[in-house]
């Protein structure tokens, strides 16, 4: 893979230098992550969309002079390799995400770029695996401020019937001994953001489209097989129909319901805010 070859060369060069300086460098790269609550909402939506495989996406935002990474929105990605714990992002996806970040920068007037990635750990611990830590280390080769987020969900303690959702933020640093990488913990705070941003809404409604696209691509590959008899083709067509129905009932339907509820809530909030505005205007006039 391109990233792997590139990183191997860089890794060798770094090992030949003083690694203790590198450790300090990694520590100083990022001091904290501030995740806007509407971006957090999209991450949660995405992570809770499936418990059978890991989902992933990219974080868009900026880094300030205090080395705080501000994540303003996220981009949901398709997973080309759906094997367990294989959440590497291809160079093409990174490039497409950068283009999207530029578009968001123009839309918001802020210098946006890809600042990190997130993925989910359904039914497993929130801590990054060795693969995750190595993947994160490779991204840091290109951008030392790159951060990784993990959302752990669908965890339940059967005894106390307590469910849990966890999230963590980390970076990677080279271990003092050996060539393995270790994680370092990065403080992460969810920043209140009362209104859901346009870019976050667009990302949220992208999920059903991505799921359908994945299903269509798979079906096209199967459909192109010419040696299948009609019964098998009917079977495959039914599988496609079934899967699309699952997506609509599990994702599109609840998404639409949430959007309608949000619209209703906003309408009520606007009325209340208008009333408050009038009251405050009168109070100001009396002062």
């Amino acid at each position: 893979m391109f990233l792997l070859k590139f990183s191997t060369v860089i890794n060798k060069q770094i090992r030949e230098k003083n690694t203790s300086c590198l450790i300090v460098l990694y520590i100083m790269a990022v001091s904290a992550v501030h995740l806007e609550s509407d971006a957090f909402l999209v991450c949660m939506n995405h992570a809770l969309s499936t418990e059978k495989e890991e989902v992933m996406g990219l974080c868009i935002g900026e880094v300030d002079t205090n080395r705080i990474v501000h994540i303003h929105s996220v981009i949901i990605l398709r997973r080309s390799d759906k094997r367990k714990d294989r959440v590497e992002i291809s160079p093409e996806q990174l490039s497409a995400a950068s283009t999207e970040a530029e578009r968001l920068a123009e839309m918001t007037g802020r210098p946006m770029r890809v600042v990190g990635w997130y993925h989910s750990h359904p039914h497993i611990t929130v801590w990054p695996s060795h693969v995750d830590v190595r993947t994160q280390a490779m991204y840091q080769m290109m951008d030392q401020g790159f951060v990784g987020l993990i959302f752990s969900c669908f965890i339940e303690d059967k005894n106390t019937k307590t469910g849990r959702v966890l999230y963590t933020c980390f970076q990677s640093v080279q271990a003092q001994k050996g060539s393995e990488y270790e994680r370092i913990e990065i403080p992460i705070h969810v920043i209140p953001h009362e209104a859901i941003g346009k870019v976050c809404l667009e990302s949220a409604v992208e999920l059903p489209r991505i799921l359908c696209q994945e299903e269509q691509d798979t079906y096209r590959r199967i459909h192109s097989l010419s040696h299948l008899d009609p019964i098998t083709k009917i079977h495959n067509g039914s599988v496609f129909t079934k899967n699309l129905c699952s997506q609509m009932s599990a994702i599109s339907g609840p998404l639409l319901q949430w959007l309608e509820d949000r619209l209703e809530l906003n309408k009520h909030s606007i009325i209340k805010l208008q009333e408050e505005k009038e009251r405050l205007t009168q109070e100001l006039a009396s002062l």
Partner: protein
């Protein structure tokens, strides 16, 4: 033994069979929305759960019995109605105000199946006030099996890892029964059900029949008609999603704009009140100072010797912090830049502390709710609750590295509560 299951959408089965709650479910979008609303407030957050209770009858047939049926109830949470602030429908004594309740719920009152509360750094059990409120809500809303969903938020001392725990209570049953809450989702999307090869068959009859009748499933382009049909349904649905999304976006921008205007008005009012108070104070001081000789002091352009200022308690300028402050709160970062051992963090004094080297005292409201403060301390003490809240004092992360490089804190539950017990990497990593 056969088991037949069919569901009846009725709240009361009326057959006198044994009814027990089997499970409950909540949409992932509703769950995320509650987390979102909770994240937007520094204090507790609460609201109502809307949905329906579905009865399912399980019919068992065995060799020894002709048939026995068991009715189970499944709670489905469809959405939630968040309360804009605490104490919006009850007072400090826990007395519920039905008028305020109706104002919040409006015509959604009939859809209420429970209520929820989000708290930080507290135990996973109902507080005394919550129990009192729950009883009243049960009577007022006329829902015998009203449920209560408790969210509890805890963090590591360095704020790198956060956990949201949730428990669904059935308080009107014995021993405050807990119900397992599931989040329906897409499940398996590995697409392994597609067949890449057909079962080998040399029968000409078979090939002939399936070709002749199988063609009815395909259109002239060789594409299955069902696929076109279902894709049309999907496209129409996605278009509607996009359309409603645009409406939501517009409403968000309008709301944001009005909120900003409200914030500005509040700031302006606060500023004018401050200025007025300052002016009054200056006038009071001017009136209190005896007039000097004309030759000694310069002429003051601000003197108003005829104005008599009544001395009273000085008006403290109340700088009202807007509910939705435009400037983000300052969160402490726990990695001092100049420290070479920045990753060696101090042991946490309390869960959820911002990791600041000298955490300040948090202000609790006495019932376990956190105050409107960024310093989240483990209050833990509920009304009438004498248990030690130190259960959540430590939050330990799984160690993948030598202890010298990372700080470890345990989550506030014993290790046995972790389903997998350890945090070894999944196979293949």
């Amino acid at each position: 033994m056969e088991r037949l299951v069919y569901s009846v959408c009725a709240k009361d089965c009326g057959l006198g069979a044994y009814v027990s709650i089997m499970a409950a479910s909540i949409s992932g979008y509703t769950f995320s929305s509650v987390c979102y609303h909770s994240a937007n407030t520094n204090s507790d957050h609460e609201g109502f759960l809307l949905g329906e209770v579905r009865q399912e009858e399980t019919l068992s047939i065995s060799d020894s019995h002709i048939g026995s049926s068991e009715f189970v109830s499944v709670i489905e949470v469809h959405n939630h109605e968040p309360c804009a602030q605490l104490f919006s429908f009850y007072d400090y004594a826990g007395n519920v105000n039905e008028e305020n309740l109706n104002r919040i719920l409006k015509d959604r009152r009939k859809n209420v199946i429970g209520w929820y509360r989000f708290r930080r750094n507290t135990q996973q059990q109902m507080s005394f006030r919550e129990q009192v409120i729950h009883k009243q809500l049960t009577n007022i809303l006329g829902i015998p099996d009203l449920v209560f969903l408790l969210f509890s938020f805890i963090s590591t001392a360095n704020s790198s890892t956060h956990a949201l725990e949730y428990v669904l209570f059935r308080p009107n049953r014995n021993y405050n029964q807990r119900i397992s809450l599931s989040i329906p989702n897409l499940g398996n999307t590995s697409q392994q059900e597609y067949k890449v090869s057909s079962v080998p068959n040399t029968s000409k009859n078979y090939a002939g029949v399936i070709k002749e009748h199988g063609n009815e499933f395909f259109d002239k382009d060789g594409v299955m008609k069902d696929i076109r049909a279902i894709f049309q349904v999907y496209s129409a649905l996605q278009q509607r999603v996009q359309a409603v999304c645009c409406e939501v976006d517009q409403s968000e921008r309008v709301r944001e704009k009005i909120q900003e205007e409200v914030n500005k008005l509040k700031e302006e009012i606060a500023l004018r009140k401050r200025n007025r108070a300052e002016e009054e104070r200056r006038l009071q001081e001017a009136a209190a100072v005896p007039l000097p000789d004309n030759s000694a002091l310069p002429d003051s352009s601000q003197s108003s010797p005829t104005q008599v200022v009544l001395s009273g308690p000085s008006v403290e300028p109340s700088v009202e912090r807007p509910v939705n402050s435009s400037s983000p709160p300052i969160y402490s970062t726990t990695l001092p830049p100049d420290s070479p051992s920045a990753i060696l963090l101090p042991r946490p004094q309390a869960v959820g502390s911002p990791g600041h080297p000298s955490p300040s005292l948090g202000l609790g409201n006495g019932d376990g709710s956190s105050s409107d403060s960024l310093n989240r301390q483990a209050t833990g003490q509920e009304d009438g609750d004498d248990e030690d809240s130190s259960e959540y004092e430590n939050l330990v992360s799984e160690q993948l590295q030598p202890p010298s490089l990372t700080e470890t804190v345990t989550l506030g539950r014993p290790a046995t509560l972790w389903p997998d017990g350890d945090a070894h990497s999944p196979p293949g990593s």
